[in-house]
Amino acid sequence: MTETIDTSTPLGRPIKRKEDAKLLHGRTNWTDNIQLPGTLHMAILRSPYAHAKITKLDVTPALSRPNVIAAYGADELGDLNGSIPCVWPVVDDIVMPDFPSLAKGVVRHVGDCVAVVLATDPVHAADALEAIEVDYEPLPAVVNMQDAIKGGTLVHEDAANNVCYNYPFATGENYDDVKAKADVVVTRQWANQRLIPAFMEPRSVVAAPMGMSDEMTVWSSTQIPHVLRVLMALVTGIPENNLRIIAPDVGGGFGGKLQLYREEVLVTQLARKLGRPVKWTETRSEDMVATHHGRDHIQTIEIAATKDGKILGLKVHLLADMGAYLQIITPGIPILGMFMYPAIYKMDAYDFHCTGVFTNKTPTDAYRGAGRPEATYAIERIVDELAAELDMDPMELRKKNWIKHEEFPFTTVAGLTYDTGNYEAATAKALDLFGMDELRAEQKRRRESGDTVQLGIGISTFTEMCGLAPSRTLGALKYVAGGWEHATIRMLPTGKVELVTGTSPHGQGHETAWSQIASSILGIPVEDIEVVHSDTGRAPYGMDTYGSRSLAVGGQAIKKAAENLIEKARIIAAHQLECSPGDLEFVGGEFKVKGDPEKAQAIGAVAFEAFTAHNLPDGVEPTLQGEATVDPEDFSYPHGTHLAAMEVDTETGKVTLRKYVAVDDVGNQVNPMIVEGQVHGGLAQGIGQALYEGAFYDEDGLPLNANLSTYLIPAAPDLPSFITDRTTTPSTTHPLGTKGVGEAGAIASTPAIINGIVDALRPMGVTDVAMPATPMTVWKTIQSANQAAKGGQA
């Protein structure tokens, strides 16, 4: 992409990331690199069954294995067997089963924790697991949600029909009344399949009692050190003030490390009990079954419209797979999606219902987009189906129904108020980059010649809600925490800056971007600003990083903290320069007396005055720092238009993504290069869902592809060079005019891909292709359509 760069401020410039030299040279501090004297290494015996009674568990034989210090099952662990809390009980009558760290008598998914061994090295800990004597009595497994809700086998005895909760939500006019007025009603059912986050750095945790103090330090590969501290205190009873949580370098998360995991609790409890450091690092095989999964919704969606293409109403009924237990925000994920089904479209009625269902599978929770990709997939797919039903161009149908740029702010039928947006501008730019007319002409030629390779064009005009979130809104949704963010900016006596943030990066580039924001306000060079984060000892306040919130919310706190710092500095500078604060202007890092530019004081000099405190005005405290804790006014609403050209080999079912255009509107950009990286990575993950990924189980609940040779993740050779660009419609509810970009690509791209495949095959009678669209799935879909066509002729 090309754009004009303003070099007068670091804001908006694609400067190279501060973080990268360290990463590229391998000078990283992963949790597993932490080596403390006397560390015990934990290994976990996990259930090989989806559902079974534990009829015998004897850990004592493991104790006689070399280097083994301790071994525990649930009985031996006793009171230390802490239960994982769910902090998002979406309805009052939700069923929240006990989720102990080690299973108590029954295992409920493959990978469920049964027992642990601690040894002085990881090798002997792993070996000793084989000595544990355990017998299981297999029980029927609940695998399929549609079967689960009929009753029979229960995952938890107190969840009748395996239902965790029912969540009805109807807004606008009565849907059935609106439907009665419709000329066309299109109904579809889609499986938004289960995905595995598969971050690059496996989970790892070290807990250590700190010498003679009461402090327990926990290093964990987590997205949420601050939230983890609160939850860990509640679960373990360790006083919160004695807990220090550090997220060292963290190699990816995608929501998968937005969690309090049982392994984190076990390591911490056992470090306390044994009085020594305890460490656990998962293997990839463990990760695939024990890290929470994402998605796994069955979506029944119905859209009602007039014959000229005006959308009247939308009805969405979901079955959402919770898995075997509730992790911290498992029930809330589909509810985040609930707000986004109406997306960018104006309509009169919306009827939503979600049933959360327990199954004998790994628990689900947040995964890049968390509810919003599922919603976006469903609405963008059904709009294409409606267009086909009406014989309208799918882009024309979208244009007819979307919120026009002059209509913002606009309150949607779901109740959200979108502050700004310009769908027309993003779409115009995307169409220009895509070459739609030429591709449609090629599509026509291939159709007419009956080419083996057919061409399809997929559209996704998405929006999403991110920047979680106004605390009052979260409260109304029964989420038990707030959505604010904190920043402290300290000017050190030597003129350097410490910027303390409550966000917790794991690959995003916060150290660079936050320095750019502070630099643009303070006039201090980017390289003189150190960003302090992810350590509750050094950065005590924060709500961490997820939901594309760090810039949208954390960025506001940094801006305000910097402004607060300048206001204090202004008073000190005025005193030094013998003028009133109002006579000063702050430009380029200097306070200058208006009308007398010779009289000036650099902010670094002010910091030194604040440090010596020899000559401060009365009532002004020494030291120079600014703080701010900001609760966002609203969510932010990035949007964009994504277009995909899909080639489908009708003979083999193989699909090739030939061209992908993504025009995103994420508001003002702090660092366009980082935005570009987020878009690319997000696209790869969204395309991964469409074409490659999916965690599948057999009828006994055993995972069929829980390793990276069969759970396929696209890599560079599998993807084209993305064509990306941006439009800029600044947010009016966020002081920097920024929105959020962490999840946009993953949310937008999945329906674009599937819409493109269906578009390619629609003349053959194909109206849907299941995800992931593997060659066999596509080929069988074509075969079925051919059979149906033959049947029709006969």
Partner: protein
């Protein structure tokens, strides 16, 4: 995961390797480690002894003297696919090897290791089968040779005995033949769902002789002899397509998440048509 404990010895000659193999009832040979290490780490196997053969220089060479190209079992994929003699005289092997995994793996993994591991999904075994390669196996009583048609016995099972070491594979020279390896997989680094190794000798615009090997349509690589015979004399796409219909004759593919039996048979036919057409230069 962490492998179970094992003893380890590193051989620098074939004789040392054979001595080490004879010292244990439960030994495994380590070549480039690209097949064995995942097995050990997942604890699918826990041998008592690992005999590391990666430092045996005498089995790494490629010799094109005479009427054969003889490739040491320890030659890496990278060495094989870039060797001028292989490219000139056994082009199909170079083409198939280029599709193996990724550059890092191709620099570590060895041709001999892949053939001796005999994973049904591996890309080179059907090449060796179709091209009538000859395997030289060293054992306690000396060396013996086994033709490709007798080498592959079942999934992960070959003619190499517990106390033996595959030392080299000799390919007849196919100078002037056209060839193509058609790999069908879901991502660039994934295993073949089906692969087709095709080599043809053209004479006057017609196929005079054809050799076809199929990957991953059964427990061992499969030679598509019915297709080979039907291709003789073919000079058009229609004739190639008709011959390729016989690619699924007699095969007994298994089903997995990527392909059921019906789809694998279908792929065998379609991909054979495409591979032969490309090998023959016929569109």
């Amino acid at each position: 995961m962490i492998p179970a404990a094992f003893d380890y010895t590193r051989a620098t000659t074939v004789d040392e390797a054979l001595t080490a193999l004879a010292s244990s009832d439960d030994a495994k040979i380590l070549g480039g480690g690209q097949s064995l290490l995942p097995v050990l780490r997942q604890r699918l196997n826990a041998p008592e002894l690992i005999v590391d053969c990666s430092a045996i220089d005498e089995i790494k060479g490629i010799d094109a003297g005479g009427d054969k190209v003889t490739i040491g079992a320890g030659a890496t994929h990278h060495a094989v696919m870039n060797d001028p003699a292989v490219k000139a005289s056994v082009e199909l092997l170079a083409q198939a090897t280029e599709t193996v995994a990724d550059p890092q793996i191709r620099h570590r993994g060895t041709l001999g290791g892949s053939l001796a591991h005999a994973d049904p999904r591996a890309d080179q075994p059907p090449v060796a089968l179709a091209l009538d390669a000859e395997f030289t196996i060293a054992g306690p009583s000396g060396k013996r040779t086994v033709p490709a048609s007798e080498f592959f016995i079942g999934p992960f099972e070959t003619a190499v005995g517990e106390d033996e070491l595959l030392v080299s594979v000799a390919f007849p020279k196919y100078d002037g033949w056209g060839s193509h390896y058609e790999k069908f997989n879901r991502t660039a680094q994934a295993w073949s769902i089906v692969g087709i190794a095709a080599a043809v000798r053209m004479d006057g615009g017609k196929i005079a002789e054809a050799r076809i090997g199929l990957t991953n349509v059964g427990g061992t690589p499969v030679r598509a002899t019915a297709v080979e015979q039907a291709l003789v004399g073919a000079s058009s796409m229609a004739e190639i397509a008709a011959a390729a219909e016989r690619a699924s004759d007699g095969i007994e593919p298994f089903a997995d998440e990527d392909a059921d039996v019906e789809f694998r048979k279908h792929l065998a036919r379609v991909l054979t048509k495409r591979a032969v057409a490309k090998a023959a230069g016929i569109e």
